[in-house]
Amino acid sequence: MHGRPRKAPTDEEQEASSNKAVKLRDLQSQVLQFHRNKIYTKEAIEISAKLLESNPEHYTGWNYRKLAVEHLLDHLPENGVDSESIQSILDEELRLVENALKRNFKSYGAWHHRKWILSKGHSSTDRELRLLSKFQKLDSRNFHAWNYRRFISALKKIPDEEELQYTTNMIYDNFSNYSAWHNRSVLLSNLLEKGGKGYDDRGTVLGEEYEFVRNALFTDPDDQSGWFYHLWLLEQTLQREPLFLSSWPPNGSTLCLSIDGYLNSQQSWPMLHFQSKARTFPLILYFSEAVEGVSSSTVTVESEYNAGGDLIWRPLSPKKFGFSQAWLTDLKFSDKVHSLESCPVKITVAHFPGIISSSGMPCSQSCHLSFTVCVPANDQERSEVQTAHRISLEEENFKALATQSEEAKLVHSLSKLEIEKVNRPTTCKQSLETISNEIAHCQELLSSTDCKIGKLTLARLWMARNTLITYGSTDDGTEVHYEDILALYRDLMKMDPVHICYYEDEYSLALWKQATSNLVSLLKHCYQYQETSSSPSMNPSLCVRLNGLSLSRIGSMEHLLWVQMLDLSHNKLRSIEGLETLQLLSCLNLSNNKICSFTALEPLKKLKSLQVLDISNNEIGAHSIDTRRYLCSSPLNHALVSEWHFDKFASDDVTLKDHWDAYLIFDDLNLIQLEIMGNAIVDDRLRSFLFKLMPSLKWIDGESKCD
């Protein structure tokens, strides 16, 4: 069924097909006529059969048949309602479907009609199984047939074990059968969930499956179907409960709320400060994978001075609806508290069950964290309005951290504030052994075969091993060097340039992890920012620089929740998904990347503290067709997050029409400074549009609003 070349039709064939079209159109209009007028006579039904036999894709035809069957069943003579006459009506439908399927194996409508008839419960499922085995012999990979098989086996209540054996036989016949492997994964999931005889030990069952598929992988490493099954197995092995990884403010820290960002000289390290006008600050919880169910009933916050009642938790990076790795709420201190020195806050994550990963695993172990918040007594003293000045992100303003600098100490102190690993459930030793075993086999295969999907799998296995070790208890062995993983991805980019974007993304995740997975390595990317020309009263800021690393996407934010200044310039970023987690971010450099639309900046909308943004020298507007442009809320769909404030603009202003996507992003931002030059889309009209849109904006590309 696969790989048949197409041939251009000859003149005769063309003529035949146009004749056929005329006939089909005639049949079709007749059937539609019957359908409209609810005519279910014998002749009408026969004509519909003719139509469906020659064109099984006619959905209305199938629907008409269903109505006709209902009609016939309802109008059976009162005294003659016996199973035989019902049977004959339904058998006629089965015969029709069979003929239709002979014409087109892959007709959704025909298969569906058959299911509909079978679900009436009058037909023999044995017959269906025989038919299926015929179909599956002719085309063993046809997923319609496999799908129908699942339907029939459920109807007939065939034990999953039997069906599993069937998939084994089909795979023995030909192991490049993705449908068979897929059915196997479905059946095994059921069996493992039920945990019946022979399936109670998950590890052993998966181990046997690894061995089974390994034979396929070694026999033909270029065949993908086995690798897909292997990937599914890997997922099953890595399935574990979601872990609470980190928070902001960090566990054990002391947080100082201030208005202006200036440090009080009396304040000593380690102390974090946060600029807040309304005495609120964000509280962020970060998990090992996307979870749902973070709410005031699963997370308790104990603090005397919390003004709000129940906290509202919001998912920060909604990848799948309702699931997110990072969750956000706002803690607010009552205005009545004027001279509060320190306020302890205690938080228990997963106090009550309800936090669940997207694969359905619950976060079962509760985790405690506490920090202290200082609200300066004299927070009215400083004048509220600072004369803001333009930030220059020139290289000269960055200095590597001296080991003994205050900033270095801060980073070190942060590293001590990790959530205690003791609280984490111990890694399943078996999972780690399985992964290590698979790594060994994969390396054996690669030693003799240069196989891209094998390399990709090895890279995935190494990453999985590192994840298991970093999230597990401490004595689980050593991590794989990230350099090795990166080398594999570099190799893959050369071997398989068609999928370079995917490899670049995976490379970025590994590199990101290498740079940020522990605070010691992160320290190498921490810089001190101080403008040489600025007044000495200006305190140096801490900046994390992950620039010039060829990153194409953003990775895990586990250790970065505290970052306020981030330099991601000179990478290959196409997307910045994940940055929305950095709620404290006030200065972001995305210059010299590959961002090609304003809509790609959507994550920035959630960064309420962002003041300085550099998106110069990207590719916004450079591509005439931007596939991402419509992936966000827009005037074209109705899922608007915020309302449109058209009144800001004169009704005859054409710029809004041209730049609705810019409007969408920047309307929510409170930027003071924006660097945007070097993008194809930029012109004076856009600049004035942006000034109009953001009243807070003072400079665009160094030119101030007044100019």
């Binding site: 023995y172 030909n174 192991f175 396929a216 026999t219 295969l445």
Partner: protein, 541 residues
């Protein structure tokens, strides 16, 4: 011996071609000649079709190989011609039969024992092509040989990983070996493929080198080499010992045999693997060709011994034959079965006799054996092949021993029994017997036999319960004659060869036909109603 009067007269008495003997080569030539419009008379002294390619009931089998019909010594005189008596010489020797149970002999007629076993058809080989081309598949039915095994180091039998799915299923190979073997199969596929990229091709230098060296060069393990050489390429002699090997297979021919094997898998949707076997035995094949010849006008007379060759008195040229009935028949050409010897005539140069002498001294031999049991070698399968590569039975084993087990589902034995054929090339009878006995001891448990005490006693006791017990067995040595060109008007066909397939025998047969009818096509293509359907319906599902 029947009375001469009981032989019917044959009319007419002149033919384009007379063929004596209904073995497979004779039958194919008779059929091809009839197809080419020649008038053909086909004679056999036996009451059955097939001669040396026949399948016989058990009780007829031993008498046939023990004594060929003796020369007729009457009515030899001819009025107009020089009459040279025809003699036959025995081609089988050292026949050794053991009967441990009376059950097989009591059911003699339920057996169809092949004289030239083991032999099978590869679904894509030239014999199958000919069968389809001539349409004789309508007279025959085939069944799959379900599995091939190779003897493993520990004395057990392992599945031969001959295809992608067989490699996947195999339990005897390491993962790396699976990887290597499949890679090798793909290498061959690419080499034979249409893509004209030089990188994918095996170099000419490699193609000319011995196959075994090429396999070593690309890094295949000993086990894989053995599997490829002896179970797929079907090498006879130890390829690892290049000096002593009588038939070194080049990479080129190794690869083409491998390709033939692989194209055989899946050719017919209802055949499991690469190999099939005709129901009722190999003897069906010559019979089917005879039937086709008869349809095309060939005249058949069985039970009709030929007593003399008639030569022209002056020139000494072949003119015709004299039957046991005394009737004289004439043809410009004569084909005779390999068992006939024609002593030199006074008028004629003694070339025929000479060539026989030469072939006698130079003859290769093949040891054949048949075993009858009540249990299968492998409980999972009914029909299977087993290979003992050189040095697998004992160190000095220099040729491959091949084994074919057949069950009652191909109608060669009573239900519940199994017939197993064995064969091996040998230099002499002693060596031949030793090879077969070693294989028999490895496969079966032999009742009350001195052999089982000493050689491989530990093996035997270990597997004693699993091994099928022998009910009946016979071993014999068959001479191999090769076709060395016709002599004037008389051509002698070859004996069934040592191979597991018919390819070489068919090639030799075509050569004979070409020699006697250089201007005729060997089975001209006729429009056999669609080939595919013929092929598809060929096997009993």
């Amino acid at each position: 011996m029947e009375e001469a009067e009981s032989y019917p007269p044959i009319d007419p008495s002149n033919f384009d071609l007379i063929v004596i003997g209904t073995g497979l080569p004779e039958s194919i030539v008779a059929s091809a000649a009839s197809a080419a419009g020649k008038t053909v008379l086909h004679l056999d002294s036996n009451p059955f079709y097939g001669s040396h390619s026949a399948s016989l009931p058990l009780n007829d089998f031993i008498p046939f190989i023990q004594s060929e019909s003796q020369p007729q010594s009457r009515n030899l005189t001819s009025d107009d011609y020089v009459s040279t008596p025809v003699a036959t010489r025995p081609l089988y020797s050292a026949v050794e039969t053991n009967s441990y149970s009376s059950e097989p002999t009591e059911n003699s007629r339920k057996f169809n024992l092949d004289l030239a076993g083991p032999r099978v058809l590869l679904c894509s080989d030239s014999m199958i092509d000919l069968i389809l081309k001539t349409g004789i598949n309508q007279y025959m039915e085939f069944k799959s040989v379900d599995a091939s095994f190779i003897s493993s180091a520990d004395g057990g039998l392992e599945n031969v990983p001959d295809s992608r799915s067989a490699i996947f299923k195999n339990r005897g190979l390491s993962l790396t070996e699976k990887n290597q073997l499949m890679k090798f199969f793909k290498l061959v596929q690419r080499h034979l493929g249409d893509d004209e990229t030089e990188d994918d091709k095996i170099s000419d230098q490699d193609l000319e080198s011995p196959f075994v060296e090429f396999l070593t060069k690309i890094g295949l393990s000993q086990k894989l080499k053995s599997i490829i050489l002896y179970t797929i390429v079907l090498a006879d002699y130890d390829q690892e010992n290049l000096e002593a090997c009588k038939d070194v297979i080049s990479t080129k021919s190794g690869i083409s045999r491998l390709a033939l094997y692989h194209s055989s898998i899946g050719r017919f949707p209802n055949a499991n693997g690469a190999i099939i076997y005709p129901i009722y035995g190999q003897g069906e094949l010559p019979q089917a060709f005879c039937r086709r010849a008869a349809v095309k006008g060939c005249i058949y007379v069985l039970r009709m011994p030929v007593v003399a060759i008639l030569n022209d008195k002056d020139s000494g040229e072949y003119k015709g034959i004299k039957l046991v009935s005394g009737q004289e028949l004439f043809s410009p050409k004569l084909i005779i079965a390999p068992s006939f010897t024609i002593p030199s005539t006074p008028n004629h140069d003694a070339q025929v006799a000479n060539s026989d002498d030469v072939s006698l001294s130079d003859t290769k031999k093949v040891a054949r054996g048949i075993c009858i049991t009540k249990h299968s070698l492998n409980t999972q399968v009914a029909n299977c092949l087993v290979f003992f590569p050189p040095r697998s039975l004992y160190l000095e084993q220099s040729t491959s021993v091949r084994v074919l087990q057949l069950s009652s589902n191909v109608a060669v034995c009573p239900s519940g029994m199994f017939v197993t054929y064995l064969s091996a090339m040998c230099d002499d009878n002693v060596q031949g017997k030793k090879l077969l006995n070693a294989a028999i001891n490895a496969l079966f448990s032999v009742p009350i036999s001195g052999n089982s005490e000493n050689s491989g006693a530990s093996n035997l006791s270990e597997h004693a319960e699993e091994k099928p017990c022998l009910l009946w067995s016979t071993l014999y040595i068959q001479e191999l004659t090769t076709f060395q060109g016709g002599l004037d008007s008389i051509s002698k066909t070859p004996m069934p060869d040592e191979h597991l397939h018919y390819t070489d025998l068919l090639d030799a047969t075509e050569k004979i036909f070409k020699e006697i009818y250089p201007n005729e096509e060997f089975f001209p293509s006729i429009n056999v109603s669609n080939d595919d359907e013929g092929g598809g319906s060929e096997l009993d599902s």
